[in-house]
Amino acid sequence: MNAVSPPPFPPPMGLIAEITHRCPLQCPYCSNPLALEPASAELDTGNWLRVIDEAAALGVLQFHFTGGEPMARRDLTTLVQRAADRGMYTNLITSGVTLDDRAMAALTQAGIDHIQLSFQDIDPLENDRVGNYAGAFVKKRAAIDRIRGAGLPLTLNFVIQRHNAGRVGAMLDFAEAMQAERVEIAHVQYYGWGLKNRAALLPTRAQLDASTDLVEAARIRLRGKMVIDYVVPDYHASRPKSCMGGWAQRFINISPSGKCLPCHAAETLPGFDFPTVRTHSLAAVWDSEAFRRYRGTGWMPEPCRSCDRRELDWGGCRCQAFAITGDAAVTDPACELSALHYLMGEAALESAVPAPAFAYRKPGRPRAAVALDQAGDKSRAPVLPDPGRASA
């Protein structure tokens, strides 16, 4: 126990509510865990309303409704309305395939502030193949008009992987033609289903560089008209991303069953007892051991500890450190200063060989099979001692 208790940590800015893992799409890079939570495990309406009240009181400014497909929950508008009533900015992250006129009217009535609409590709057939949902593109295109018709700001989200990286220019042109306020050109992040399908998804360095050039040119051309957020895969990087703005510094992520995580992928980390809203207040969650463990810089080993970027990237991503090296407490191997950085380069070689078929996201996988998959991913990344790591 520390003799001196630290000053209270600033409250979270955002709450990411994965209100369900159900989804009509089966994208092979879904950010949900391999072990999807069933509908029977989901928090009920009353518990979510309590969480929303607690979030506002704690200082959450933005409430993000996501999933799975959040529109699969029939009480979505009830939850949106409560969050809006409590003064939080309400955001819906959706595939749009069920956003019909009635749903759009109900969401508008409830006070939704913003909708982010995801696309799997700008090529309709490829879009539908990646989501494994025939007719999805046509429905998404119609959803744009409904969002526009409701007077809401429009964000289009394009998820980039090796099969569509050559169409980033067309995606940006489409977003401009739709007069989107914002577009996300977001390369797949390789956790969960994305990690499982990495060989089928990871672009080459040349593909990544080409997409980066297009984004940078469009940012200059569209400055002040359209905001472009760009997310790169870590496998060709020399420095890690500031994952979630630092572990438990800005966000609380809640799973459908109420489990509270510093990020959606954190459930993959062993040795954690993540709190649940069924038994903990959000204030207790924010101050829990799991949330404090990698918060700030005190936990850092070298080379992070003495790095002048330690408060810019916060050591990168704990889940990636674990997925690639087997130890969540080491420097993210995306960093070229990590002694294990070569593991990222080795994995990136997958992008140079023909892509295997997708393993589509599907529920109901037995837990034993999931455990085998994860062991398989780790077996490709031998765990070596990190000579740069300070003793714990």
């Binding site: 800015m13 900015y89 700001p153 400055r223 002040g224 905001v227």
Partner: protein
């Protein structure tokens, strides 16, 4: 209204409001938020979609007893920066 001076307004989907928990003004928008500094807060309070930048500069000049031209030269880059980030439109 003075001709030639742009009229700033909040960006589509942007909300400028006081957060009681932090005791601070915030700009909330599509998956982004800004914590404007004191100067930006005073400017944003005057952004109503009808005042020009010159109008806002004149109001601030009267309040802070400084030349309007100097204030306008200060707030135009600030508004341009907020516009580049989607918080306001000019």
């Amino acid at each position: 209204m003075q001709s030639g001076s742009p009229v700033p307004r909040l960006g589509v989907g942007m909300k400028f409001r006081f957060d009681a928990v932090r005791g601070a003004w915030v700009v909330l928008g599509p998956e982004r938020l800004f914590l404007p500094d004191d100067h930006a807060v005073e400017v944003l309070k005057l952004v109503d979609g009808s005042r020009t930048v010159a109008d806002i500069a004149m109001l601030l000049a009267a309040r802070f007893d400084a030349p309007a031209a100097m204030i306008e030269a200060d707030i135009l880059p600030m508004l341009n920066d907020l516009a580049a980030r989607g918080a306001v439109r000019l």
